[in-house]
Amino acid sequence: MDDNAVSNINDIFISKKKTRKIVSIKELLLLLLPPVVMLIALYIHMVLPNVYPPGYKPTVYPVFLKLCIGIYLLFMIMAGFTPRLRERMLYLVGLFTVSFILIEALDIATLKTGRLLLPFVPSPDKIIASFTGNVGKVTESFVASMKLLFIGLFFGTVTGFISGILIGWSKHCNYWFSPVLKIVGPVPSAAWLPIAVVLFPTNHAASIFLIALSVWFPLTVTLSSAIKNTNKSWIEAARILGASEWYILFHVAVPAALPSAFIGMFMGLGASFTALIVAEMLGVKAGLGWYITWAQAWGEYARIFSTVIVFSIVFFSLISLLFKLRDHLLKWQKGSMKW
């Protein structure tokens, strides 16, 4: 009798939470909202005449919209089988819908009415076309930027860890190197540019230095201060358990300081994006920052917009990646960090 009651309750809960395969009408309507908005956008775009600039023939925007509709419907079909994807999509429905309303609004304000003027605000069609028409150049710039960024991040992180540990642990290193840290670190990379060019044999090396510097500083500061402030009772416990000073440093002080180090790395990653753009002023022949500067010189604002979009996707991905790494390495901490 009792067992039955319990299993009945379980059935109710499970059926509500997990095993429900059928999508309700309300959910279906919600999920259909973005493609409907995309269709309306497509319709408006096809029906309204193109007036600005005179004689402009849009080519890629309708294709883009159709592609988006296709991909979205594909995801919807998959969501029919995977409840988790469905949850995710239901969550994002609002953002998708509003995004496409805004894109179409831009289309109307530019191409369809000429309310926003060229060359500063191009139509969605022109922005997308400036990307699709220059995929080769953009990819080349993307690869060049990433190469520079990753080499800089690598050196900055490695030296940041080394100097953070040294300054945090050794009183001598603290005495001699923390003034260097305090003088060199806070100066923004843009200010270092002219000096870096002189100090380094090649512009490439100077660029790497600027990016590395922007990561090195916040990482060293957060790591060294966390190591200096390692919880005393952990050190005492380790000492009593027979750990040597070296063992305590690498198995107590450093792991205990890792959460702070990640905060420094997040700050450093943000600063390194700025440093990358600055570094690409040093006579490089390809790079996203260089591409933007170059496009600006030609008044090609469509390219600037599309490159900025590429930038945001790349940086968003890098930050997400660092969060994933953090959640993996710090899984011993209660709860994960969201952004």
């Binding site: 009772s233 952990w234 005492e236 416990a237 380790a238 000492r239 009593i240 358990l241 027979g242 750990a243 040597s244 063992y247 198995h251 107590v252 792991p255 205990a256 890792l258 710090l330 899984k331 011993w332 901490q333 209660k334």
Partner: protein, 257 residues
């Protein structure tokens, strides 16, 4: 006292005329211990009970080597104590586990730090089973209860097989049932190699249940005002007349402070 302390060594702790004075930050000198004397022989469990500020915890920190006395002689196995050593284990009040290590790795920490893990990794599993942590090995400290953390902390110390173990109110944060269960586990592990145990506690029943000797201290400076030998056979019955009688005697001594 080097590696591989012989099991035949008769462990011995001697504290003679120990004085430890603190500066409380306002320029006042606090006499935590003043000419304190204590001698403990091999295999004995001794409890220190007394009101807060009687220097019990100070004494444990001195024996652990985490602090040094201003005056007096403190010797373990006839060698002066001048720093921490794994042969003098310490179980902290709040378990003080390493939060970035799993239960298993916390217990294995000492062996790994001393480079003995490869040779004797089966000991870790043995200790885990002894304190009843099977199935929880891979959890992190934030995922386990206070009782499990206490067990992990005990296992982390006992795995080193120290000749002397200092317990600083290890069970004070636990509920009564968990506390009783862990008290039995302490006796169980103690019986394996019979180290000296010095226990600081506020719980008189705990002191009488575990100890061969209960020492009652006065507050500031800590002085011995009562000493009780307990010869009741183990396992002890907490409600037996002679148990209750000793408990009452200890209580009375504390009452007169």
């Amino acid at each position: 006292m080097a590696e591989g302390v012989d099991e035949m060594v008769e462990h011995h702790l001697l504290a003679k005329d120990i004085t430890r004075i603190y500066d409380d930050g306002d320029g006042n000198r606090v006499h935590a211990l003043d000419h304190f004397n204590l001698e403990i022989d091999h295999g004995e469990i001794v409890s220190l009970v007394g009101p807060s500020g009687c220097g019990k915890s100070t004494f444990l920190r001195l024996v652990a080597g985490l602090d040094l006395p201003q005056d007096g002689r403190l010797a373990y196995n006839h060698q002066p104590i001048n720093g921490p050593h794994y042969d003098r284990g310490f179980v902290f009040q709040d378990s003080n586990l390493f939060p970035w290590l799993s239960v298993y790795d916390n217990i294995a920490f000492g062996l790994k730090a001393r480079g003995l893990y490869r040779k004797s990794r089966e000991k870790v599993q043995e200790l885990i089973e002894l304190v009843g942590l099977q199935g929880f090995e891979n959890l992190y400290p934030y995922q386990i209860s206070g009782g499990m953390a206490g067990r992990t902390s005990l296992a982390r110390t006992f795995i080193q097989e120290p000749g002397l173990i200092l317990l600083d109110e290890p069970l004070s944060a636990l509920d009564a049932f968990t506390r009783m269960a862990i008290q039995d586990e302490i006796i169980k592990i103690w019986e394996r190699c019979k180290p000296i145990i010095v226990l600081v506690t506020h719980d008189i029943e705990e002191a009488v249940y575990l100890s061969d000797r209960v020492i009652v201290l006065s507050p500031r400076p800590g002085k011995v005002i009562g000493e009780f030998q307990i010869t009741l056979p183990r396992p002890r019955n907490r409600t037996a007349d002679d148990f209750v009688h000793i408990r009452r005697e200890v209580m009375d001594t504390l009452h007169f402070i």
